[in-house]
C-alpha cells in the first residue's frame, strides 16, 4: 500500500481561503519532494516525457531530486523549460505527462511530476537563478522582436536569449506576463513568482518594454524592418460573448474584465484605485479554468452565492480536476446541463437573473467529447446580481487591422507552417494567437519551437 497514493500538497484551510487571495496550495518541502521523487520508476523509455509539449527530461530531473541533488535537477529542468514555477502550477499535467506514468497502469496514482517541477522552480527562485547572466548575454548580432509577453513569448524570448540573440519583448500592458499576470488569479499563480520568473529572463539579457502596443506605439512594419526576426505571441485576448439578449446589462462582465480588475489591477486590495463591485449572487457561465478562476475570485470578493453554470455534464468540464475540487470545497455550486438563453433585468439596467434551458448529453463527437441538446420547454430562471461570461476568447482584432501583410484566418488566428513561420518571411508566431485559446504549456511549446527555427536561421 506504501506507494498507491502520491504525496499530497499542503493546502490553506478552506475558511481562510475565502478571505484571502493567497495561494491555495503550498509547495512540497524538501523531505516530501524526495519522498515523491523516489516513487518514480525511472522508466528507460520515459512515457511521461512524451506527453510534455516542451519535452522535459522528466525521469532525469526527478531522479536528481530523489538523491537530493536539487541543483542538477534544476539544470535539467531549466534547460528546456524557462518557467518551471509557473508550469508546475498551471500545466494540466493530468492530461499530459502524468497521464502516461506507468503507475497509472497499475492502478496507482501517477508520480506528481507537476508538483516536483514546481518544487524545483521555487527552489531556483529562492536560491537565485541559474544560469548566470554573464554566461549568455549578447554574443550574436541578430536582433529579435517578440510581441506580447505571455507564455509563448516568454519561452521564445528565453530560448533565443540563451542562444545569444539580442531579444526585445514588447508588452502593451504596464506589467509583463500576459495571461499569467492579468488572467490567472493570485491564489493559483502568485504574481511575485511570475515577476521573479520574468526577472530571470532579464538576467539573461532579455529586454522588456512595457506600454508598447505594436501596431499603434510602434508600427508592425517598423519592427519587421528593424529586427532580423519578429515573433508574434499576442495570445487570444478578445473575449467571446454568447450573443444572447441582455449581455449589455450592468453587472454582466466578460471573465477577462472581471479577472483583469482583480489580478492585474488588484481591485481586491484596499490600496488599488481600480473599482470592482462586490456582488452578492454571481453566476459564471462556462466550464473551463477561466470560469473556475472567475467563480473562485467572486467568492473571495465576498459573494453570498456563486454558481457556475455549464451546458454539458460534469465529466465534460474543461477545467483542471484540482481546480474543480478546490472550487467545490470553497462553496462554488456547479450546475451542469443547463444552457443560458437570456440575461434578464427587471429594472432595465441591472442584471437580476439568468434564464436557462435544461440540456442533455448527446453522442460523442469525433474527439470523443459529448455534445448536448436542449430540452424544449424546460426554461427556468436563477436570480443573480452579476453574470460573468467565461466561454473563451479569440485573437486580438488589432492583429488583423494593424499588422500589414500578415495573413489571418476567419477567427483572426495566424496560420503558421511547421517552423512556426507566418506568410511573412521573417515573422514567426505561436501560442493562442495561432490556435485560439488553449493552455499555457502548449503556448510555451510553440514559443520554444518557433525559437528553434529562429535560432537555426539567425544565430550564426
Amino acid at each position: 500500500m506504501l506507494d498507491v497514493k502520491r504525496n499530497a500538497l499542503r493546502e490553506l484551510p478552506i475558511k481562510e481561503r475565502l478571505t484571502t487571495f493567497k495561494e491555495t496550495t503550498f509547495t512540497y518541502d524538501d523531505e516530501t519532494a524526495i519522498k515523491e521523487a523516489k516513487r518514480c520508476h525511472k522508466c528507460k523509455n520515459a512515457p511521461c516525457a512524451k506527453g510534455c509539449p516542451v519535452g522535459v527530461d522528466i525521469p532525469g530531473f526527478i531522479s536528481k531530486i530523489a538523491c537530493h541533488d536539487f541543483d542538477s535537477a534544476a539544470l535539467i529542468l531549466k534547460s528546456v523549460n524557462a518557467l518551471p514555477s509557473i508550469c508546475g502550477r498551471v500545466c494540466p499535467q493530468e492530461e499530459q505527462c502524468e497521464k502516461f506514468c506507468v503507475k497509472c497502469k497499475a492502478n496507482r496514482e501517477a508520480v506528481a511530476t507537476g508538483r516536483l517541477e514546481r518544487f524545483i522552480g521555487d527552489y531556483l527562485l529562492n536560491k537565485g537563478n541559474l544560469p548566470k547572466a554573464s554566461s549568455v548575454v549578447s554574443t550574436k548580432t541578430s536582433k529579435i522582436a517578440v510581441i506580447g509577453s505571455g507564455p509563448a513569448s516568454l519561452s521564445c524570448a528565453n530560448d533565443c536569449a540563451m542562444a545569444g540573440l539580442d531579444v526585445t519583448v514588447f508588452e502593451s500592458l504596464h506589467s509583463p506576463g500576459g495571461v499569467l499576470t492579468y488572467g490567472i488569479p493570485e491564489f493559483r499563480l502568485p504574481k511575485d513568482l511570475v515577476n521573479a520568473e520574468i526577472e530571470s529572463l532579464k538576467n539573461i539579457g532579455v529586454k522588456i518594454k512595457v506600454n508598447y502596443l505594436i501596431g499603434k506605439t510602434l508600427f508592425f512594419k517598423e519592427l519587421v524592418e528593424q529586427y532580423n526576426a519578429v515573433f508574434i505571441g499576442t495570445g487570444a485576448g478578445l473575449p467571446k460573448f454568447l450573443g444572447i439578449e441582455g449581455e449589455e446589462l450592468n453587472g454582466v462582465y466578460s471573465a477577462n474584465e472581471y479577472l483583469t480588475r482583480t489580478n492585474l489591477m488588484k481591485a481586491y486590495s484596499t490600496n488599488s484605485q481600480t473599482p470592482i463591485v462586490k456582488h452578492k449572487n454571481v453566476i459564471v457561465l462556462g466550464g473551463g479554468n477561466v470560469a473556475f478562476d472567475a467563480a473562485r475570485t467572486a467568492l473571495r470578493l465576498g459573494t453570498e452565492s456563486t454558481i457556475l453554470a455549464y451546458r454539458r455534464g460534469h465529466n465534460e468540464l474543461r477545467a483542471r480536476h484540482e481546480e474543480i475540487v478546490h472550487a467545490q470545497q470553497e462553496g462554488v455550486q456547479i450546475k451542469t446541463l443547463i444552457a443560458p438563453v437570456k440575461i434578464v433585468s427587471t429594472d432595465g439596467v441591472n442584471v437580476t437573473s439568468v434564464e436557462f434551458v435544461r440540456s442533455e448529453l448527446s453522442e460523442p463527437d469525433s474527439s470523443g467529447r459529448r455534445g448536448f441538446t436542449l430540452i424544449p420547454n424546460s426554461n427556468f430562471e436563477i436570480a443573480c446580481d452579476a453574470t460573468i461570461v467565461a466561454i473563451g476568447t479569440n485573437p486580438n482584432p488589432l492583429i488583423k487591422g494593424g499588422f500589414d501583410g500578415l495573413i489571418t484566418d476567419s477567427r483572426g488566428c495566424i496560420p503558421v507552417d511547421s517552423n512556426f513561420k507566418t506568410n511573412l518571411d521573417t515573422v514567426y508566431a505561436g501560442g493562442d494567437a495561432t490556435t485560439g485559446s488553449a493552455t499555457v504549456i502548449s503556448a510555451m511549446g510553440a514559443g520554444k519551437k518557433a525559437a528553434a527555427s529562429i535560432i537555426a536561421r539567425f544565430a550564426n
Binding site: L173, H174, E247, E248, N250, E257, N271, P275, V277, G348
Partner: protein, 276 residues
C-alpha cells in the same frame, strides 16, 4: 516613467498636462487617445490626445478632476513623473471626406474637437465650431481656437459669455439656416449632450458622429469593458472606436453602462479627498 513637462490650470478642476512620450507623439493622430497610470497602484485612465508635437516628442491632454484617480493625477506637478503612458490608442478621426463640418463640444469635449479643428484648418476644409460650457470660467481653449478659425460660436448655460443656452440650441439655430449646408456634425461631450445634438441634427437630416468616453481597462480590445451596441452588434470603443455614427448607438444602454461604478467611485473620491 513618463515626465510631465508642462502643467497649466485652465479652469477649476481642469488641467492641461504635456507629457514627454516621443513614441506616442510621433505616431499620434487627432481622434486617438492614451491610457495612463499615475502611480503603480493607480487605475488605468483613458484621455484624448488633445495635441501633440512630433518633433518635441510631446503629447498634450486635458484632465478634469471628476473622481479619486483624476484627483491623484491632478496633484502631480510639472517635472514629476507618471508611471505608465500607452498610446496612441483607437482609430484616428477622418472628417476630411466631408465638405462642410460642424464641430460641437461641451465642456472637456474640446479636447477632441480642438485637434480636429487644427487638422481641418491645415487641409483648408470648411468648418464651424460650437464650444459650450456651464459658464465663462469653464470655457477653455478660447484663444487657441480663435487662432485657427473665426467661425466659432461660444455658448454658456448662464449667458456669462457668448450665446446663452445649450450647444443644442446653437446647433438648431445654425442648421435652421438653409445656407448652412453642413454635411456632418462631430459632437463630443457628456453622453446626454451628444445624444441631444444627435436628436436635433436628425430633425435636419444631418448625420452625427460622436466620440465615446467609455470606462476602459486595457484599451486594446481585451476586457470588453467599453463595449456598446451599435446597429445591434457589440462594438468595443477602444479598438472599433472611439468614434461612432450616432444613429446606430443604443443610447439608453450606453448611458446606463457609463454609470456602472458610480457609487464605488464616489466612495473612492471621498476617501482620497479626506471628505469621509
Amino acid at each position: 516613467m513618463y515626465q510631465i513637462i508642462s502643467k497649466k490650470i485652465l479652469a477649476q478642476d481642469i488641467i492641461e498636462y504635456t507629457i514627454f512620450a516621443p513614441d506616442v507623439a510621433s505616431r499620434a493622430n487627432p481622434g486617438q487617445f492614451v491610457i495612463l497610470r499615475t502611480e503603480p497602484d493607480g487605475e488605468r485612465l483613458p484621455f484624448t490626445i488633445c495635441d501633440f508635437d512630433r518633433r518635441a516628442g510631446t503629447v498634450v491632454m486635458l484632465v478634469q478632476t471628476v473622481g479619486a484617480s483624476t484627483y491623484i493625477l491632478s496633484q502631480k506637478e510639472n517635472g514629476s513623473y507618471i508611471s505608465d503612458f500607452l498610446g496612441p490608442l483607437g482609430n484616428a478621426t477622418d472628417l476630411l471626406m466631408y465638405n462642410k463640418i460642424l464641430l460641437v463640444s461641451g465642456g472637456i469635449g474640446i479636447a477632441v474637437t480642438y485637434p480636429q479643428a487644427k487638422l481641418l484648418h491645415e487641409h483648408s476644409k470648411s468648418f464651424e465650431m460650437i464650444i459650450g460650457a456651464r459658464n465663462y470660467d469653464l470655457l477653455i481653449y478660447k484663444e487657441e481656437v480663435k487662432r485657427i478659425t473665426d467661425s466659432v460660436h461660444f455658448t454658456t448655460d448662464d449667458g456669462s459669455f457668448g450665446f446663452k443656452g445649450f450647444v443644442t440650441d446653437k446647433v438648431r439655430e445654425l442648421l435652421s439656416n438653409e445656407n448652412s449646408k453642413f454635411d456632418i456634425i462631430f459632437a463630443v461631450g457628456p453622453l446626454p449632450m451628444m445624444r441631444a445634438v444627435f436628436n436635433v441634427a436628425r430633425e435636419f437630416s444631418v448625420n452625427t458622429i460622436i466620440s465615446m468616453n467609455s470606462i476602459m481597462l486595457d484599451g486594446t480590445g481585451m476586457c470588453g469593458c467599453c463595449r456598446l451596441t451599435v446597429n445591434g452588434k457589440i462594438k468595443y470603443a477602444c479598438v472599433d472606436g472611439p468614434e461612432f455614427d450616432a444613429n446606430g448607438i443604443d443610447w439608453n444602454e450606453t448611458i446606463n453602462r457609463s454609470k456602472r461604478f458610480k457609487e464605488i467611485e464616489a466612495e473612492h473620491y471621498c476617501k482620497v479627498r479626506g471628505l469621509c
